[in-house]
Amino acid sequence: MVAIKLYQPEDLIKSYALSWHIDSAATVSALSEKISKEVKSFDELLNWLDNYLLSQLKSIKKDKSLSDEQFLALVKVVYLQHELYQDFSIFDIASATEDKLIKLQEAMSEYKFLPEKKVVMPEQKIKVYNPFSLFLQYLKKGFHHAFGRK
């Protein structure tokens, strides 16, 4: 386990918050304060941030068919897509209409890797012959071909 003291918590939070486009100073300082009380390790920090964002985003979730996890995944994907689809950002989600959410879902579906269709490639058998018997086999075939019944 990597202890949280190895990092500068403020830097980490700032970076994390920035990466989620939460760049208001008030939010960052509130996060810092909260985190110093509640979080004991790096893992916990990441989980905490995820949960925090999830609770924040719940309030703006319009599409009830999405589970919380799906919604968070969607937001993450939109974040990744940010560079690809300049018109979406975390701020767009905050004021998202249902239409926009549908668009976001579409964007996610395009971004997602193709679903797997698992199949098995059966291993082919390659039986190595004795070269002499192979030669005899071809000789036999040749004779059959030349003199055998048509």
């Binding site: 980490l12 993450k76 994907v77 679903p115 269709k117 199949v119 082919q124």
Partner: protein
């Protein structure tokens, strides 16, 4: 199920089974007759004072080496005849001009520690070209990375991320990095087939240096559609983008002579053609059902995973009843050539091992006879060097032996007439001249064919003949060097040395230091042989000079030929049409390379990790790649300790393996990324 097992498939009006059989009888019959005639003559011309064992041994060596060039000669003659007579290869059914394409094709780009920007620039150029056609939407690209270098792995992901932004609408670009590169390229393709292959009807397999124009890719997919019993269609790749003298020489030979050779192969192979591992379209289901490669018992080089998988896959797909075609008229299919003799030899080392491993399959059950011929040809491509080497050694050895042990002219006492050892010098010279004619004639046919088609794009007839003479001079001098290389490879392989899997160099030349380090022994053999022949087999000295001279000049030949000579112009030797009027796809791939390279040029992993979006993209892709390989607890602890010791600003004090682990540990990586800033 393939229909090929029934007679239905062979009811193609233009090419009957009988005609193909007759073609094979003609080609192999003429090869055999020519070889037998020459061998009988050689048997008559050989010195009479050698032992019976030596006589037969020399005869067998001669039969095999002469048979090899005879097959090449007759194949080229028939190829030339086909090219002159027809514009299209007959036998396969061609799609109508307005035929629609409704089947999906995956374009697979396997990559192993390659230049990520160059690979992705080629992919983008192909996608853009496909995007010009409505059928382009039926294609998706998959970058299948087997890269083991973490720096390159991250660069590939960055390139994927940046390229995706520019990709034409409707064409997808996917990236997958394989945690363990089991079974190398064949394992990489198999992994795709078992995970995503069933989403596609066809897959177009490329190499990292491959380029195919959109029109040709669409044509290949349409050909598969109208030929439902076809398993593979191979588009012969043409060498392009050559810069060094060595690569341009090969580019010229491939362009001028290659077409004749390809046409010759297509002529007799018909639907039993081979697969060269790239620039070919494959029916996915047929491949899944019939091409799961076995792992041979024992260790490499002969045991273990199959190294040169392409020939084996072609044989297996053919064994299952699917047809395999090679169509020389499929143009716009490109590849690149190693820039130097050393890189060429390094690739040969791998191919040599792969082909020798095929000996096991050559004598396996239920393999189609023509597939056996493909294996035989592959094996002979390397074995012929050793045979030629043995032939030369024995020839020189006999003359040297005679110097030290002169023949006994009178074996009995009171003999009236001496018993003269007879050696028909002029007959032997005639056979030598015949061999040379058989080697050069197909090349002359290639030049004549190109001149017949105009030849202006090659700088005119004068430049073509100039190219022919220089190419032959260089080939003659470098052939003994390659012969020694390949003979050494065979000896290494037979003694159990594995080639490993090295990344192919595609650009850099050879330094004098490397030239000396790699070729000193060939130079020494050349000097030693010259001294020996001059002193003890003087009659052979001038005859052997082209061979010994090539060996002695190995270092300058190798180093200087890896350099770029002369400026790009139509008047330069070895000019090909693609250099005069560079195809759009080549131009756009170069343009994209310049643009994409900026994202990763001079940026190490540390620098790239400073960009949040790249870190996020990497973490997103981890879920697709599959489970992390086992790094061992020691390494994991070491990385954790090193990362925890960082004081900020990051540190490059991580080994490649440690960096690789770091890229797998999502949380540690996020922390590292923060500290990198």
């Amino acid at each position: 199920m393939p229909l090929a097992a029934s007679n239905e498939v062979f009811a193609v009006p233009l090419l009957s089974r009988r005609r193909v059989k007759f073609r094979r009888i003609k080609l192999f019959g003429l090869t055999l007759l020519t070889t037998l005639w020459a061998s009988v003559k050689w048997s008559e011309f050989m010195p009479t004072d050698i032992s019976l064992f030596m006589h037969w041994f020399l005869l067998i060596l001669f039969f095999l080496t002469f048979g090899w060039i005879s097959l090449y000669f007759w194949s080229a003659v028939f190829g030339f005849w086909e090219l002159v007579r027809k514009s299209r290869y007959e036998g396969i059914k061609y799609p109508a001009k307005d035929a629609e394409l409704n089947a999906k094709t995956a374009i697979l780009v396997p990559s192993y520690n390659e230049d990520a920007a160059a690979v992705m620039a080629r992919v983008l150029a192909m996608a853009e070209d496909l995007g010009k056609y409505s059928e382009g939407k039926q294609f998706d690209f998959f970058i299948l990375s087997d890269s083991t270098n973490p720096e390159i792995w991250l660069q590939e992901e960055v390139m994927w991320f940046e390229t995706k932004k520019q990709f034409p609408q409707g064409i997808n670009l996917y990236y997958r990095h394989r945690p363990r590169n089991t079974a190398r390229k064949s394992g990489n393709i198999e992994d795709f087939c078992t995970r995503w292959g069933s989403n596609y009807k066809y897959m177009l397999v490329l190499d990292a240096d491959s380029l195919i124009v959109g029109k040709t890719m669409i044509q290949m997919a349409k050909l598969m559609e109208v030929n439902p019993t076809t398993g593979i269609i191979q588009a012969p790749p043409q060498i392009v983008n050559a810069q060094s003298f060595f690569a341009r020489l090969h580019q010229f030979s491939g362009k001028v002579y290659g077409r004749i050779v390809m046409a010759g192969q297509a002529y007799w192979q018909a639907w039993d053609s081979n697969y060269w591992g790239h620039n070919a379209i494959i029916r996915v289901q047929a491949f899944i059902d019939s091409c799961g490669l076995p792992v041979f018992k024992g260790k490499a080089p002969f045991g273990g995973h199959i190294l040169s998988h392409d020939f084996v896959e072609a044989a297996l797909i053919r064994r299952a009843g699917w047809l395999a075609w090679m169509l020389p008229e499929l143009e716009g299919s490109y590849e690149e050539c190693p820039p130097s003799m050393l890189d060429f030899a390094s690739r040969d080392r791998r191919w040599c091992q792969g082909n020798l491993q095929h000996i096991r399959i050559l004598i396996s059950s239920k393999i189609h006879p023509v597939s056996r011929v493909h294996f035989m040809v592959g094996i002979m491509s390397y074995l012929s060097s050793l045979l030629w080497c043995l032939l030369l050694l024995l020839g020189v050895g006999i003359v040297v032996w005679r110097y030290f042990f002169p023949p006994a002219y009178f074996t009995q006492s009171k003999e009236l007439f001496p018993s003269w050892p007879i050696f028909n010098v002029w007959g032997t010279i005639a056979l030598f001249v015949l061999s040379m004619v058989m080697l050069f004639f197909p090349k002359i046919l290639g030049i004549l064919y190109v001149i017949g088609k105009g030849g202006k794009q090659y700088g005119g007839a004068g430049k073509l003949w100039q190219g022919f003479f220089v190419e032959n001079l260089f080939s003659a001098l470098s052939a003994p060097v390659m012969m020694l290389f390949q003979s050494k490879f065979i000896v290494e392989i037979l003694s159990g040395m594995d080639s490993g899997w090295k990344t192919q160099n595609r650009t850099a030349g050879t330094s004098w230091q490397d030239g000396i380090r790699m070729h000193w022994w060939q130079t020494a053999v050349g000097i030693g042989a010259s001294v020996l022949i001059y002193n003890y087999a003087h009659t052979l000295f001038y005859w052997m000079l082209p061979i010994t001279l090539g060996m002695m000049l190995a270092i300058p030949l190798s180093v200087l030929s890896s350099r770029v000579w002369g400026k790009k112009s139509k008047q330069r030797i070895f000019t090909i049409p693609e250099e005069v009027h560079e195809p759009d796809i080549l131009q756009s791939s170069k343009r994209h390379f310049k643009q994409l390279e900026q994202f990763i040029a001079d940026k190490d992993m540390l620098t790239l990790l400073k960009n949040d979006i790249y870190v996020s993209a990497h973490i997103y892709l981890l879920a697709i790649n599959g489970p992390m390989p086992d790094f061992g607890s020691d390494l994991i602890k070491r990385v954790q300790h090193k990362v925890s010791s960082l004081s900020g600003g990051g540190d490059e004090n991580l080994s490649l393996d440690e960096k690789r682990y770091l890229l797998y540990d999502e949380k540690l990586l996020q922390g590292y990324a923060v500290l990198c800033k």
